[in-house]
Amino acid sequence: MLQYIARRILLFIPALVVISLIAFIINTEAPGDPAARLVNASIGLTESYKMDRQKIVDQKRKELGLDLPVFYFSIGSFDQSGASLHSWKKYVPVIHFYGTENQYHKWVSGIILHGDFGTSYVTQLPVTNEILSHLPWTLLLTFLSTLLAFGISIPIGMYAAEKKGCFFDKFSSVGLFILFSLPNFFVASMLLVFFANPQFFGWFPESGVQDVVSFNDNWSLWMKIEHWAPYLVLPLITYTYSSFAFLSRQMRAGALEIFGQEYITTARAKGLPEGSVLWKHVFRNSLAPIITAFASAFPVAVTGSIIVETLFSIPGMGREIYQALLNYDYPVIVAVFMIIGLLSLTGYLVSDIIYALTDPRVSFSKK
């Protein structure tokens, strides 16, 4: 068992390295010169600076370590100057080794040691602070919607599986199928047009999370929640419906398979009450796919939040990513990419270990 977990964790590391490499490639291959962009953003393009602009940019470049070699080693041409384009020297490969004084090493150790993802091109603030300050809204919405989705989908899925073929099962199957096929931006736009629009039903505020004028920071927590609640209804619906449809279908399919097993017949034959059969035998055994879904819930929610938060103007991580994309703010994009990759990998790791702990059929040894 321990050996299995150890092996699983060992396999986790190369995956992490590859993700960091992909993120790093995005970082270095991104169009534009980071140093120039940072300098432009801080001093602007005014005439008076034109003279020593190049100097400032060069200084910035040194500061950021952009003058260092990119990686631990490089394969390059024998002729590095590039002056003679068609000389034979261009076609002779040479390997250079640079040791730890390189951009990748600096970047990765910055992330590991200080959690430093660089500086945003737009706001000139450290990316880490930027992301942390936007995280609470995303976490809140994710948490609430996960709670809602699991709370609704498990009973529905179980009930539909138990009463297979009855009206409720058929009705919910069709309904869930339709919900499952509805793109979330369509649902969100529909909600906005019909339920946040005085022309139809102006029941909910259309965007943001709080009223700029009436919101007061000194309010008690309860008053704040009361103020935020109407703003969160429509985003929560959008967040929840698709994962809820997916989970219910998953739950029903899983439970149906367990219902067909012989040990359920045995449980019934020995006279167990139906409720006990349902929740003790069927429910527990059909949880496996739901656990997997739970593990990937957070990363999926963050990407889902890109559309939802942008549409409803919620100051969360999703909207932050969207703004970064529009502004080609690569440090933010790369940081989010890394964080979500790390979270997903951890999610898979944890769900694999939970799987192994709960399901005796998972084998720990090589086949």
Binding site: S181, P183, F186, P299, T310, I321, I340
Partner: protein
């Protein structure tokens, strides 16, 4: 089975037919394919037929093959030649003697000067007639499903968007199937202990890889970068060329290992654990949520294009196909008929392509049908956010995004949204039908 002939495909078709929603979806699919192929004839600002100054024109048909078709007529007043370039001529403003408009007389990206700022369906609309007067539009020239902020006709956008949606769904899945089946097949067939190569070849492959990467990618770095900056298609061609160069060097060096054959150490056999390598690759790809991946990669390219979106979606979907193919290959590989094929001395390639692959495709087809639905949702989501396709391309997603500026324009939400929803549901239902038809346990 009338004449006793028992064919698998026919059996599947009989099963599929029994699933009514799936069958209807298949008809809807065929209908959409026809619409998308004929979209230039159904929705076009150029008339299907026009008689002008005594001459017959068939502009919509003639520009079907040549976009910049030109012709000329003689002006009866000053007897001068006047050039007509079909796609920029304003046919509505010409004094045509006889005209048959296309069913939807607007092109997708055409901005109607008199239909700007969200004209709602059903209201009175205006246009400028041949005499230069602004008059009420007759029924044929109306925007039946309204317009968006810049005066583009929604109906026309929906019809032309069909082609884009189907392209995204089908081409991205073709890419996914191609990559996924190769990867999954290799990993499933060879497993960890089946691909044996000699140690010498393995060792020689390392310098081969070094030279391959050098000549394929480092020497051609600028070429590749320029190619990708101009056009994704040219970029892909150059990338394939680079890969070919790299492959050439690797195989050259592997071939050279014969020199080392004399030494005993090098002719020993080692296993290449294909399965672990490919599974790890798949896991890494899987660990990044697809939407984030697509968005990040499209952010790398300042020049947006549809091809880029299709390729990224296809590549991202490949791991799922690979995993399914792998499972099937592992299952089938153990079956008796493969063992006997091997005993007969049939080569690996023939076993893979003739004996395993046709039997391994069933779950892949199901996944591809569902995948097409996912791909369409992904693409329209990107277009909705305005980061997927170029800004001047009209897609269902980009039409829907106009509702963000004006919540009163319900038609900008309902119609494009329904188009996406119907197409997505159609692919999902076809997938569901295929799954049931291909399931050997379902009753016949």
């Amino acid at each position: 089975m009338n004449n006793g002939e028992y064919r698998y495909t026919r059996y599947i078709w009989m099963q599929f037919k029994k699933n009514k929603p799936a069958l209807i979806s298949l008809y809807v699919f065929i209908f959409l394919v026809i619409i998308s192929l004929l979209s230039d004839l159904i929705a076009n600002r150029q008339p299907l037929y026009a008689k002008y100054r005594g001459r017959n024109f068939f502009p919509a048909f003639e520009t079907f093959f040549r976009k910049t078709m030109t012709d000329s007529t003689i002006n009866p007043i000053n007897h001068k030649y006047e050039k007509l370039q079909y796609d920029i001529t304003d046919w509505r403003a010409l004094p045509l003697e006889h005209v048959i408009w296309a069913p939807i007389p607007y092109s997708a990206s055409e901005t109607d000067k008199f239909g700007m700022d969200y004209v709602s369906p059903g209201t009175a609309q205006q246009y400028m007639d041949a005499k230069g007067n602004i008059v009420l539009s007759p029924y044929i020239l109306k925007h039946h499903l309204g317009t968006n902020r810049i005066g583009q006709d929604v109906t026309s956008g929906l019809i032309h968007g069909t082609l884009i949606a189907l392209k995204v769904g089908l081409f991205s899945m073709a890419i996914a199937a191609f990559l996924g089946i190769i990867l999954g097949g290799v990993s499933g067939f060879f497993g960890d202990y089946r691909l044996k190569i000699s140690r010498g070849a393995f060792i020689m492959a390392i310098p081969g890889l070094f030279f391959g990467i050098f000549y394929g990618f480092i020497v051609r770095y600028d070429v590749l970068k320029n190619a990708f900056e101009t056009n994704v298609f040219i970029g892909t061609v150059q990338l394939i060329l680079s890969l070919a160069i790299a492959t050439f060097f690797v195989s050259l060096f592997v071939y050279l290992w014969r020199i080392l054959k004399k030494i005993k150490f090098f002719s020993g056999k080692i296993f290449v654990p294909m399965d672990i390598i490919i599974l790890k690759l798949i896991e890494i790809f899987d660990s990044i949520p697809p939407l984030l991946f697509i968005i990040t990669f499209s952010a790398l390219f300042v020049n947006k294009s549809l091809a880029l979106v299709i390729i990224i979606i296809g590549v991202l979907f490949a791991p799922q196909i690979a995993r399914l193919t792998r499972t099937e290959f592992i299952r089938i590989r153990m079956l008796d008929y493969i063992q006997s094929a091997r005993a007969l001395g049939i080569g690996n390639m023939r076993i893979i392509f003739r004996h395993i692959l046709p039997n391994a495709l069933a779950p892949v087809f199901v996944a591809l049908a569902f995948g097409a639905a996912t791909a369409i949702i992904a693409e329209s989501g990107l277009s909705f956010l305005g980061i997927g396709v170029p800004a001047d391309t009209v897609t269902w997603g980009s039409l829907l995004s106009y509702s963000r500026d004006n919540f009163n324009a319900w038609w900008m939400v309902v119609f494009p949204g329904m188009a996406i929803f119907i197409t997505v549901t159609m692919f999902n239902l076809i997938g569901e039908g295929l799954r049931e038809a291909l399931n050997p346990r379902s009753k016949f």
